[in-house]
């Protein structure tokens, strides 16, 4: 059965840091359309520390590594991104404590726990035009693949990247219901949500880093992953 190792997750986090740091200005520009323009900077501040500390931090197991990342985020990331990503890492750390390899079923459960935690922290649901509009379908897709017993992790990753990429355009017309963009009402329609773009770009970059062929469709994801 296919497993996902600590090393794979560590590499994924390192790739994520590259994605976020490279897009510091671009993600802030996207946030400035309906929000306050801090998203790129806030997230990059934390991931710069993660990028630097990741090789050195103690990694006895996946849970311990993710808990440490949660602590870095709590200390260094301001704005909405701090509690969202900090909660995400912390909730992902709980079910992966003591494990150095995860089956796809365990991995899907870990992501599911993180997504539930983020929903509880911010009170957002599917359709509120937040990063959960990418994360929830990705989490569901993971569970579906896990249930099918597939061994083809490349196909799973490609599916996840595609579903997050689609969420960018599917939510573009929506009016935000959470986050600072919700406080501008109708004026948040016709702008892409920067959190959704970030998740889709991270997954597109994971594809690239793992030799999985995927070409993003949403204009913003194309630009951010270029």
């Amino acid at each position: 059965m296919a497993t996902i190792s600590l090393n794979t997750i560590e590499k994924g986090i390192d790739t994520t840091a590259d994605t976020v740091i490279r897009n510091e200005s671009y993600f802030s520009d996207l946030d400035g359309l309906a929000g306050d323009g801090d998203f790129g900077t806030s997230l990059a501040t934390g991931f710069k520390v993660i990028k630097k500390d990741l090789p050195e931090i103690d990694k006895p197991d996946i849970g311990a590594m993710l808990l440490k990342l949660s602590m870095i985020v709590s200390k260094h990331v301001g704005g909405s991104s701090g509690p969202i990503w900090g909660t995400g890492f912390m909730k992902a750390a709980l079910p992966s404590k003591g494990k150095t390899d995860l089956s796809l079923t365990e991995f899907a459960a870990m992501i599911g726990n993180a997504v539930d935690g983020i929903m509880a922290r911010g009170g957002a649901q599917l359709g509120d035009k937040t990063l959960l509009d990418a994360l929830i379908p990705v989490s569901e897709k993971l569970k579906e693949h896990a249930a099918s017993g597939t061994d083809d992790l490349s196909a799973v990753l490609r599916d996840c990247a595609e579903i997050a990429d689609k969420a960018v355009d599917e939510t573009r017309k929506l009016v935000a219901h959470r986050g600072r963009a919700s406080q501008v009402g109708e004026r948040s329609a016709d702008t892409p949500d920067p959190g959704i773009v970030a998740i889709a770009t991270i997954l597109a970059d994971w594809c690239k880093a793992n030799g999985v062929d995927y070409a993003p469709n949403a204009a913003e994801v194309q630009k951010a992953s270029a």
Binding site: D36, G37, R180, V184
Partner: protein
């Protein structure tokens, strides 16, 4: 970008270090957690009043620390909520048996950061509660959004809670006062220009020379509409009517009236706005019991202003009258 900045990432810690250096008798701080507190607080028998939000709104929030105002505050990066650790350490530093009241401006980031920090502190048996401020009438309140934003009306909540806490009121009583102020205060702002967060280096939004953003947020968020600029009296009336109709304020009410500069508007222009606003109060039969003209809650160098009005009762008037001292001194 032309700014007095060394390195953009050092902007917040350096300005906070400056506030501490300028107020050695009044303040101390822990810059690892972007936190400033009164040197002589906490004390056992007084509720600590705490606030923390993004930077770029000075003199809110760390410069509002002092006797009769905040006991402590922490700052996030420019326009972004403080990290959870900063909020938690600030609560811990001001913890007292009388309790800590956190005054949170109603933004998603601030709410989540303080929610998490309050949960952590309560898990350690620290007595702490939070109160959300939401005075911006530009935003439609709704169950389906985060709701109205907290803007300059924040000052009145801090002032009244600070005075009530000095008087020895309990945590529950101070919270009731926060609620009373928040229920009776309304604000709306207008921007003539954008502003430049140092880390971003470019304006946060584009606005043409002949345009204004009516109902702008203090982070440059869009407001009610992008309109052609008119004269000062018309702009004042637009803001004033939006504020006065919202509560509403009625004939015979005693009010506190604030004209707040957003950072890039000269004091003289603020008095032009005040002159008209005072006349509009008179037309509506409102008595201005106290007035505030100056910078209380800014948006970096944004040219613009907001009008805030608070409906007073004898209690609130007493709390606004009470002495206070902050890091912002003019004498």
């Amino acid at each position: 970008m032309k700014k007095f900045v060394n390195k953009p990432e050092d902007f917040v810690p350096e300005f906070m270090a400056g506030v501490l250096a300028a107020n050695p008798d009044l303040l101390e701080g822990d810059l690892e957690f972007q936190m400033v507190k009164r040197k002589d607080r906490p004390v056992d028998n007084k509720v600590s009043i705490v606030q923390g939000s993004g930077s770029g709104h000075e003199p809110a929030h760390v410069m509002a620390v002092g006797p009769g105002m905040l006991d402590g505050a922490c700052q996030g990066p420019v326009f972004a909520a403080p990290p959870v650790d900063a909020c938690y350490e600030t609560i811990k530093a001001l913890a007292t048996p009388a309790g800590v009241l956190v005054l949170v401006n109603n933004y998603q980031g601030d709410r989540m950061a303080w929610d998490t920090a309050v949960e952590l502190a309560q898990a350690e048996d620290i007595k702490v509660e939070q109160f959300w401020i939401n005075d911006d009438v530009a935003v439609k309140d709704s169950l389906y959004t985060v709701g109205r934003r907290g803007v300059a009306g924040n000052f009145f909540v801090m002032k009244a809670c600070g005075a009530a806490a000095e008087e020895g009121k309990s945590l529950e009583e101070v919270m009731a006062i926060a609620e009373k102020v928040n229920n009776n205060v309304r604000t709306m702002g207008v921007a003539l220009t954008s502003c430049i967060p140092p880390a971003k280096g470019t304006p946060i939004f584009d606005i043409a020379d002949d345009e204004m953003e009516v109902g702008v947020g203090i982070h440059g968020e869009p407001g009610r509409e992008r309109a052609k600029i008119t004269n000062a009296d018309d702009i004042t009336k637009t803001l004033f009517d939006a504020v006065a109709d919202d509560l509403p304020f009625n004939d015979g009410d005693r009010v506190a009236l604030m004209v707040n500069g957003l950072g890039g508007t000269p004091p003289a222009e603020l008095y032009v706005l005040y002159n008209k606003a005072a006349k509009l109060c008179e037309e509506r039969g409102l008595t201005i019991a106290r007035n505030y003209v100056g910078e209380y809650c800014t948006s970096l160098e944004m040219a613009g202003a907001s009008i805030t009005m608070l409906k007073l009762d004898a209690d609130l008037e007493k709390y606004l009258d009470a002495p206070a001292e902050t890091a912002t001194r003019i004498f």
